[in-house]
Symmetry: C2
Subunit: 339 residues, 2 copies
Amino acid sequence: MDIDELARRSGVSAATVSRALNGRPEVSAATRARIVALAAELGYRPNASARTLASRRSELIGLLWDTDYRSGGRQHPFLQEVLIGLKAALSDRGQGLILLPIVPPDDEAGYVRLARQYTLDGIVMMGVDQHTPQVRALLATPIPCVGLDLALDGPRTASVGSDNRTAAADAVAHLHALGHRRIATITGPLDLWPAAERLAGYRAELARRRLRRRPEYEVAGDFFAASGAAGMRRLLDLPSPPTAVFVAGDAMAVAAMQAATDTGRTVPGDVAVVGFDDIDAAAMVRPGLTTIAQDYRRFGTTAAAVLAELAAAPTTDEPRSVLLPTRLVVRESSGSTAI
Amino acid sequence: MDIDELARRSGVSAATVSRALNGRPEVSAATRARIVALAAELGYRPNASARTLASRRSELIGLLWDTDYRSGGRQHPFLQEVLIGLKAALSDRGQGLILLPIVPPDDEAGYVRLARQYTLDGIVMMGVDQHTPQVRALLATPIPCVGLDLALDGPRTASVGSDNRTAAADAVAHLHALGHRRIATITGPLDLWPAAERLAGYRAELARRRLRRRPEYEVAGDFFAASGAAGMRRLLDLPSPPTAVFVAGDAMAVAAMQAATDTGRTVPGDVAVVGFDDIDAAAMVRPGLTTIAQDYRRFGTTAAAVLAELAAAPTTDEPRSVLLPTRLVVRESSGSTAI
DNA sequence: CTGTTAGCGCCTTCAC
DNA sequence: GTGAAGGCGCTAACAG
């Protein structure tokens, strides 16, 4: 069942079938209706390769997702949800999603070649280092690229992420409202966009509420559990330890809670904890972890929409970014009563 | 940079370039070496669409992964790891991975058409119901299909999964070795292959160790947390409650532990628990959950290898399946001492 | 509005 | 061992 067969059966030429099915305006309503109906009835689907070859557009989006970068073990707690959103939004637009292999660092043109090889219409990146030569080369290209939790820069790029700054401020506000005045934080790696924004939000909210900002209350973590435990121990050893800690990632937060418990403190009694991400475990540990939930599915749907906009828009130097709202999920770790 | 350009620069015809790059035997070693070197130097990559159109092979594998099927919330704790393995193994073979959209149940030929549309060389399925018309139609086809944790049936299909039966037996053996004699289980939905196998392994090991099998010790769960908690409560309310429970999934196991704790029991003191899956939370909860770890990455690499075999092998009626080894991860929930 | 004619970039017979 | 020619299935100019 190819286009010629369909053309024969509908009594028109292949060109007309192509036009009718692709929504071209030059076809009469009657012919189009007839062709569309017949195509549906016969289950005709144009061959993707032939279509791509002729039109130079593939309706294919590439996903660049580096499983090695900083993922020493389990990372990207959200890949699955992002994929769900992305897949749904793309297929609504008639687009497909292809997973790109990781190219070695010395193959500078690797991604650009992959994009050409598959005639990709756009690329979604997550969990990659946008400063590597291979990625920079890709970003410099007019191929639409959107970064998830990644601040991208290029003629046709955009970034999608949560409004981490506001979210962190919400966390601090929540703790403050519960009566806490000595609020510390354990950060992520500050060269990562979300980590930096969360710290900025923490600081901003302290200032807004006229709480003193103490350098020793800002402990550096790396999003992994061990750094959360170490950070908590360090905070609790302070002469004037905090009564609450905003931890920039849930894996660290859970470990931080355990570190507190292990050293004889109670959570939230002695120290309240608020995390970030709402990983599965947040609801499974005791006490349940109060945390910031991100709408990962929407990361995906937004990425698909932004990609379409980028493809239509002219190239530009203006950095574009979309910030998504988050939600504070209150569980037991922040305590329900003031201190 | 297309094949003609490369041909011109290497002083041969496009046909020879094609043969050289595709490892055809008819090319002289010298010409091949020259062409391969030049191709590498110029970074030539044949256009995927043109190649697929001409050769009728795409080197593309489709991933069928239903995000709705039984995934009321968070499921498939292993998608990410599977993808890592799959992507790595496929790209080693020069193949790509494309995520297939879910087709509506009334579109019986949907997947078959998708396979043709993209000229897919094979399909990996996970988290789908293989009894639906759309999937059955695909399986009936000579297109290579491998199911992860799915017992598939068709002329060119195979199944890859853990050796769930042995794994469950290991769990029971572990509990028995710790001194437990009254060992119960909370199962998954028994129409799912892994759940049925785990129950079979539990029963087999009881028999091997001459432990009495009691019907009231086999409680039905559905892999979700709530059913784990309910199952544990029911077991503990028994006149002669078990001293150990093998829970067929970690989400249920964690909830089961909490249910035990909530009703005044201690874990592992009053009741020991062994789970299945080794989800992230297993190491985060207290007590840490003893569980069976599956090698999900290997699911992916194995699927890629099996797909290649299926493509080369003739169609057959023999069901093929590959069972992967698992690993018992001992933490605190099973206790380190006998009762 | 519709048909005819060329390719899109590559592989693959068929000659040589 | 290598080249020439045709075609994979579709889209996009160009006519009409």
